[in-house]
Symmetry: C2
Subunit: 247 residues, 2 copies
């Protein structure tokens, strides 16, 4: 068996998320069937992040076991030829047997894009949330600094999923970057993220920025662990898995 | 009659270009029918630039004559409600009777995006040309500076169209801006552009950057006026009408 790691990017719009489902197309099933066509043996994929329906990825990391050695350059070429244009393979690397994309990941970076203008430019509609309110960046910055560090993030988790071993996460960095044309990028770097946590953080920060929640609410939200007191779950299409960090 | 100016943005992907055609959807026909639904009288549109099929716009300027005064804020709201997500109205303004979006325009700015990486990120596939060759920016810069100024641009015009009064144009600025993820933006500012001129300039610069044409070829291309000696017409989906300038 040869452990092969792929770095992939996808536009989440036409998929029902990473994970295979019999309801419609998933990134996992699409990639798996392309790999099986090339390698002519069954393939099982593991991904660093099981992105939701509509969520995009710029640097998703996945792996699988090949039955025979593969030429990385050729496999990348063949995959990009077979896959739909919404999925792109950026890197193929043979890795040590023990490598596991989820368990070995040290931290992940997510980007959330918000468009606050009255009219959203059509270019961004698949990849940013149209939330047409003036956002107070100072208030958001203050709340963001309260979120940094190690906390129980239950208040930012929609029904804890089975794979969430632990509601305690460490957020290392939250950055607000104003972009041209009334857009704002909120980037999150953390060791792990609970179910919908990045979207709940983005929704809560947007609520704080638009005055629907007080900038000082974070410590009590974290303490009360009550999801219903935090902001809304921001829409999936604003979220992009930017990068997965390994040692 | 009330002369109304609209600033609009669109993703050209699903349209057969600005101009009405009975072959399929056009931006002109889509916008016209939305306006007629709201105003309840026939509407004729004029646009600053008749963009080709697949070409995008961030700042297209159009006008029409309304039979009665309109509330700009309300009209903008109604239009954005009626129009498909690929077209967005950014501004509605009542302008003097004499205003004409094409004849009054002083200059226009076009952006051309090229992605030179081996794999193109799926996010950019509708709005940048995947040309996977290393580009020599210095060579392109040299050629660009030869293009600046007032010249007969017949060598960069595909079959001169009826509305091109004059093959002599003035290019005021050409800028190369490297962007993250192996992308390059080429911006062109000029007083007017011949049929497919922006795309022919982009294709020629890409050919020069990748070594298919010599960086010193521009003066003789301009002199010979022979379209067949210049580079290819770069694909429509890499081009965006960025801005139309008025006095």
């Amino acid at each position: 068996m040869f452990n092969i790691k792929l770095l992939i990017s996808y536009l989440g719009t036409p998929f029902l998320g990473w994970q295979k489902t019999n309801m419609g197309p998933s990134i996992e099933a699409t990639l798996e069937s392309a790999l099986e066509k090339i390698l002519r043996h069954p393939v099982t994929l593991q991904a660093a992040s099981r992105t939701d329906a509509g969520v995009h990825a710029e640097g998703q990391v996945v792996n699988f076991q090949a039955h025979c050695p593969v030429d990385p350059r050729r496999l990348k070429h063949s995959l990009n030829g077979l896959l739909p244009k919404e999925i792109s393979v950026l890197e193929v690397v043979a890795v040590p047997k023990a490598f596991h994309p989820t368990l070995d990941s040290l931290k992940k970076e997510y980007w959330y894009h918000v468009c606050t203008g009255f009219s959203q430019l059509p270019f961004y509609r698949n990849a940013s949330w149209h939330f047409p309110f003036a956002l107070n960046h100072e208030a958001m910055q203050r709340a963001a600094s309260d979120l940094l560090g190690t906390h129980d993030f239950s208040a930012f988790c929609n029904e804890r999923a089975l794979w969430d071993r632990d509601p305690v996460c460490t957020l290392e960095r939250i950055e607000l970057t104003p972009l041209p044309q009334d857009r704002l990028r909120i980037s999150f770097v953390g060791d792990h993220f609970l179910y919908r946590m990045a979207r709940n953080l983005a929704g809560t920060l947007a609520y704080i920025g638009s005055g629907k929640l007080d900038p000082s609410c974070i410590p009590s939200l974290l303490k009360n662990k009550d999801r219903t007191l935090a902001g809304m779950t921001a829409p999936a299409h604003g979220l992009t898995l930017k990068h997965v960090f390994y040692s």
